[in-house]
């Protein structure tokens, strides 16, 4: 008998536009000791399914049909007080954003004690030692000291460990991990996932791992269910799913997952794979960065964000800047795009030193239109009060002086160029999907025909299938417009798809740089090797289709 069984679950949400069915007839089984992966893109209903079985749906959500059984208990009808006993003790959950899941003004040790005492796993006298044991269980070094830490004093990876400790404190039999590593660095992701996997085996728990990353699911789950639009479209062994996906959507997801050996076109569904443009960057340097230094005045002494880096971007070249959070890549890109001033160093752009013009004055500089940027967070980078048309038109109005019908025509031309349907131009950002916002962001950045475009993780928040489309769009645009890219990312596999040359940064310094293929195949620096090893490795595909597409 399975530990958890979900039969024909239906969940719907009341919204302003009527009822929306988020989950429409999902049936899943989790056996004792099994790890089930639920994979799907945003809006597929994967998180809603897990919230429904914990009975933690938002107030406008309702289970409209089906059965939820956990170890013989009907989770749909059981009393709320029983449910409270089950949560944490029997079924536990690891949340997406560890920082949001922790109470910011309570010491983490106390938060663990709360759970232990709620479920009578500890008394007042031994709560502290039990909490420390729970911290040690998730391999936190110096647990005694960490017991007294507040969440803001801990790194993202450390916070996620605390959340795991909280979830496992009462020895639950079923663990639900909802995107447990989103927002974590790739090496941290590996450490956290390894830890979860280890603890699951050690304690013989069952688990449901919910993720958008097929590669991650394949590596850590025995069985995978692929969800789309509130339904399970395919279910099966991780390896079988990769080797021979039966459903077209699974095929599309498998294709779109960046992996070793894939080309940017092979991420797309087979019927969309036109030959990739051949790009030959010229040898003439466009941007020459010399000994760039940025030092902030922090609370506890100076912070050296960038420690004297030098590199060159040639005309028409695409350079990848890779590193984990805090490595200085974002600081570097905001200096290069002239939103911040360096402490020292030169930024030679077509031979002129841009660092001589302060960032404050650069907005009205004639060279402003030469360097543009696509922002990481598509939601945050649009004024919520402006329509897409207004956002794309803003640089045109300010930097080119185009007005009236000319500007209108150019905006529509740009929308066509990035594949955004024209009717969407009159929508506000919150009315657009992630992929649509990414397109608007790209259209805005290329509106004034820049020579140099900085792409700051433009696909980090996107679903893989949308990411595949956006990456291909960027490749095509570069071929068509001859723009040079600086592609900033944490993901080497994505960078390799788009870049000729890769720079790896750590702690404000360049540790390694070189041609993309060479660097990926023979990484010289241990840190590069570590980054490559940490990326989830989906089973290698026997893929006849990819060679045909090249």
């Amino acid at each position: 008998m399975s530990l958890l069984s979900i039969k024909d679950l239906k969940v719907s949400f009341k919204t302003r536009r009527g009822d929306v069915d988020a989950v429409r007839g999902v049936s899943l089984e989790v056996a004792k000791g099994e790890v089930l992966g639920i994979v799907g893109e945003s809006g597929s209903g994967k998180s809603v399914t897990s919230y429904a079985l914990m009975r933690l749906l938002e107030s406008n959500g309702r289970i409209t049909g089906g059965a939820l059984t956990y170890g013989g208990i009907d989770l749909r009808t059981v009393r709320e007080s029983t449910m409270r006993d089950l949560r944490g003790r029997e079924i536990s959950m690891i949340f997406q954003n560890p920082r949001a899941a922790l109470n910011p003004i309570r010491k983490v040790g106390h938060q663990i004690e709360d759970v232990l005492r709620r479920h009578a796993k500890a008394t007042r006298s031994n709560a502290r030692s039990e909490a420390i044991k729970a911290l040690e269980a998730v391999r936190i070094r110096d647990a005694e000291a960490r017991y007294n830490a507040y969440p803001f004093e801990l790194s993202g990876g450390m916070c996620q460990r605390i959340v795991i400790a909280l979830a496992l404190a009462c020895d639950p039999k079923l663990l639900i991990a909802d995107e447990p590593t989103t927002g974590l660095d790739i090496t941290t992701q590996k450490a956290v996932m390894d830890l979860i996997a280890e603890l699951i085996t050690e304690r013989g728990m069952s688990a449901m791992v919910i993720t958008h990353d097929l590669g991650l699911a394949a590596q850590y789950c025995g069985r995978i269910a692929v969800m789309k639009d509130g339904e399970v479209v395919e279910e099966g062994d991780a390896e079988r799913l990769f080797a021979a996906p039966r459903h077209a959507y699974t095929r599309k997801l498998v294709d779109a997952t960046p992996r070793a050996g894939a080309s940017v076109r092979s991420l797309l569904p087979v019927d969309l794979r036109s030959p990739a443009p051949v790009l030959t960057p010229s040898e003439a340097p466009l941007l020459d960065v010399r000994d760039l230094v940025k030092t902030y005045q922090g609370k506890s002494g100076p912070v050296h964000a960038v420690k004297g880096i030098s590199f060159t971007v040639k005309k028409g070249q695409s350079v990848g800047l890779v590193g984990e959070s805090g490595c200085g890549k974002s600081t570097t890109s905001s200096i290069l795009v002239r939103l911040a001033d360096p402490t020292s160093g030169e930024i030679l752009f077509n031979g002129e030193d841009l660092a001589k013009t302060p960032a404050k004055a650069f907005a009205r500089d004639t060279r402003r239109s030469r360097i543009q940027m696509v922002f990481q967070d598509a939601t945050d980078s649009f004024n919520p009060r402006h329509t897409a048309r207004h956002s794309i038109g803003e640089p045109l109005a300010r930097l080119t002086g185009l007005s009236g019908t000319h500007r209108r025509a150019r905006i529509e031309e740009l929308a066509d160029l990035v594949g955004l349907p024209r009717p969407l131009l009159d929508r506000f950002p919150h009315q657009l999907s992630g992929g649509q916002k990414a397109r608007v962001g790209i259209a805005r950045a290329i509106a004034v025909d820049p020579d140099f475009l900085i792409l700051d993780e433009p696909t980090a928040a996107l679903d893989v299938s949308i990411q595949a489309i956006v990456l291909n769009l960027l490749v095509d645009l570069r071929a068509r417009l001859g723009i040079s890219y600086l592609f900033v990312s944490h993901d080497l596999h994505v960078v390799r798809l788009l870049c000729d040359h890769v720079i790896v940064m750590r702690d404000g310094e360049i540790v390694e740089e070189g041609p993309a293929d060479k660097l990926m195949e023979m990484p010289a620096h241990p840190y590069t090797q570590e980054l490559l090893a940490a990326a989830p490795a989906p089973p290698v595909l026997a893929e006849p289709a990819s060679s045909a597409a090249e």
């Binding site: 939103l339 009205r364 922002f375 945050d380 649009f382 004024n383 009315q431």
Partner: protein, 291 residues
């Protein structure tokens, strides 16, 4: 599963959005209806009323409410109903002018403090703290007494004591958006700091400001009426709710309750309206409420 599905949902127009906000929340609809009543009284009051609000008639002094005089007459025989209606214009004008003034000044000062920070922020904040350290009504009394006993000075006094509330709110709203992606994108589009602040960041502070404005309007009416009640600002025989309550208060003990009660109700009605109005106004100016 295309990201390009352009069919649903359709974008609402501005008017459709207002209709939606009014329909979805009956309280907002009620508030807007009450506000419409106030507006009609303020704009058309003198035309609508049955009697001249200033015409005295000693023969009809202190008549209780009747069919001819709905709210009765006062000690000089003036029709209380006409006076209450006509007073709406003056009371609304004072509060709207005062709130507009403090909104304007508060927004400018708050935006500067929130965007540039540093010593400007520190100096402005201490200034606002100083103003707020006074009992505000007493400060308003002081200002009117010092500047002179006129309607304009009531407006200035009410505005000054309200500035810190707006400035602080705007400062916080501007500050959290100072380094946001869209502010940076606006700079990349060639906007100077002042333009980024005025055209991109500040408009995003409007939704919470609307709540403040509406609550403040009610409060400003009370403040103006309060000043008149103690004899500052508006002078008899001008019809004004505060003065009417003050004059009527003398007659309550002798049983002529209608002199003070009806202008008091008018005051309550106005303040209640503005307090209810806030949420609806916020939903209307917030584009994110549209779908």
């Amino acid at each position: 599963m295309s990201d390009l599905a352009a069919s649903t949902p359709k974008t609402d127009g501005a008017l459709a959005h207002v209709v939606y906000v009014l329909r979805s929340n009956p309280v907002t609809l009620l508030a807007f209806s009450m506000f419409a009543v106030l507006l009609v009284a303020a704009i058309l009051g003198p035309v609508l009323v049955p009697y001249d609000p200033l015409a005295s008639n000693a023969a009809l002094a202190l008549q209780p409410p009747s069919f001819d005089h709905w709210f009765g007459t006062d000690n000089l025989g003036r029709d209380v109903f006409s006076r209450v209606i006509v007073a709406a214009r003056l009371d609304l004008a004072i509060s709207v002018a005062a709130v507009a003034l403090s909104f304007l000044i508060g927004s400018v000062l708050g935006s500067i403090a929130g965007y540039w920070g540093g010593w400007l922020d520190a100096v402005l904040n201490r200034l606002f703290d100083t103003i707020m350290a006074f009992p505000l009504f007493v400060l308003a009394m002081g200002i009117v007494a010092a500047l002179g006993n006129t309607v304009e000075n009531i407006v200035y006094a009410t505005a000054v004591i309200n500035i810190p509330f707006y400035a602080r709110l705007v400062r916080a709203e501007v500050n959290i958006r100072r380094d946001s992606g869209f502010a940076q994108a606006a700079k990349l589009a060639g906007n100077s700091d002042v333009r980024v602040l005025a055209l991109h960041i500040f408009p995003n502070a409007l939704p919470p400001m609307m709540v403040q404005v509406s609550l403040n309007l009610g409060w400003a009416i009370l403040n103006a009426a309060g000043l008149s009640f103690i004899g500052l600002g508006v002078r008899p025989p001008t019809a004004e709710w505060g003065i009417m309550v003050a004059e009527g208060a003398n007659f309550i003990v002798s049983g002529e309750w209608w002199l003070a009660i009806f202008p008091g109700f008018a005051l309550m009605f106005a303040v209640f309206t503005f307090n209810l109005l806030g949420d609806g106004l916020r939903d209307i100016v917030d584009p994110r409420q549209r779908s």
